[in-house]
Assembly symmetry: C2
Homo-oligomer: 215 residues x 2
């Protein structure tokens, strides 16, 4: 329904897809690296929705990632991620510690909402962690990434630790739970359809487009 684009009503905007992810989540890495290119090709706007998986896991009785709890599943995941990265010609290096704490980069991503560098920041954090084996809970690493992508590191790190941003991340994490999100990456279309997993990114984008055309 491209014709609607000229009408300046809210429904006429590009279809959107909410991208829910935790910076500690392994499969969020390939999803984050792919999503902008795929979405832009399809004419879908991406909304970055960082959240924390830990409360979700805790609600399911887990005190760490299920990939640590269920050994076969964990072994499979690392091999699968390695294969996916090779296929996408993306660097891969298993971090010494897993899962890392994604709190700091999640807050920075929220602090950078609306900034042109936000997508680049998210991709750089994932690549630092799963491509270079760096720690993402270290302000020096995050500051380094911000500087490299041309963002104001000092002010962003400060803003990230402010109360409004802390509250925002908490609210957003609660929202993920109320949407029925139980893992990452997850994608939610404008009409409320949930898709879970890097494998379902294409389906989510197609749904966002189709359902929007049908409005």
């Amino acid at each position: 329904m491209k014709v609607r684009k000229s009408a300046s009503v809210e429904m006429a905007a590009d279809p959107t897809l909410d991208f829910w992810f935790d910076f500690a989540s392994t499969y969020s890495y390939p999803a984050c690296m792919r999503i902008e290119a795929l979405a832009s090709e399809a004419g879908v706007a991406i909304r970055y929705r960082p959240f924390l998986l830990a409360p979700t896991f805790k609600a399911q009785g887990w005190d760490t990632s299920p990939f640590n709890i269920y050994e076969s599943k964990g072994r499979y995941m690392w091999r699968d991620l390695e294969r996916l990265c090779a296929e996408m010609a993306m660097p891969f290096r298993k971090p010494a510690e897993f899962p890392q704490n994604g709190l700091l980069p999640a807050r920075v991503a929220l602090a950078g909402e609306g900034e042109a560098w936000r997508g680049a920041f998210c991709r750089s954090v994932f690549q630092a962690q799963f491509g270079d084996g760096r720690r993402i809970d270290d302000p020096a690493v995050i500051g380094d990434i911000l500087t490299t992508i041309g963002a104001p590191a000092r002010s962003m790190l400060d803003l990230a630790q402010s109360d409004p941003i802390k509250i925002k991340l908490r609210t957003q994490t609660e929202e993920a739970g109320s949407l029925g999100i139980f893992g990452a990456p997850s994608f939610v279309t404008g009409d409320g359809e949930l898709f879970w997993g890097n494998d379902r990114l294409e389906s989510a984008i197609a749904w966002a487009n189709r359902s929007h055309a049908g409005t």
Copy 2:
């Protein structure tokens, strides 16, 4: 390496892909409905490897399907399966009971190894369960399916209850565990690569073909 086909050494046979599934597994339904067409198009031979997930689940501390234990995940799965079926123009009806007991059809599938009707039998069982909401632990239903696809129902049901077949299913289930299989559907290539989930079927087939060409 199609040129190798003419040489009568074992390596020259078509690449194979082992298809590990439990008849009670929801995502094994779309995988089973798709696998023959995709594999034949790619020149890959499929080996049906029915097994039972229950011992795997038990080893992980679960007394039922994780889709029943983790509510959000279960709710998502049913909606996702419904969408997948609609996309593939496959019937879908949520069975009254889940998971069902896949023991009987698994034994029949083993009893029918080498028979031309085996693929059709597997597809019919999945469709009866997730398309028509029928019970698959009922010998009358399984007999009905066998008759419909032109297989000798009585003798197959008898063979399915024989000791060699019972032992074979037990052995095969243990083999699944030793291969690191933790869910269904799973796919294992000739060179031992494991792929998990209906979403990864295409990747598994591509890997089977590539690794075979490289031998």
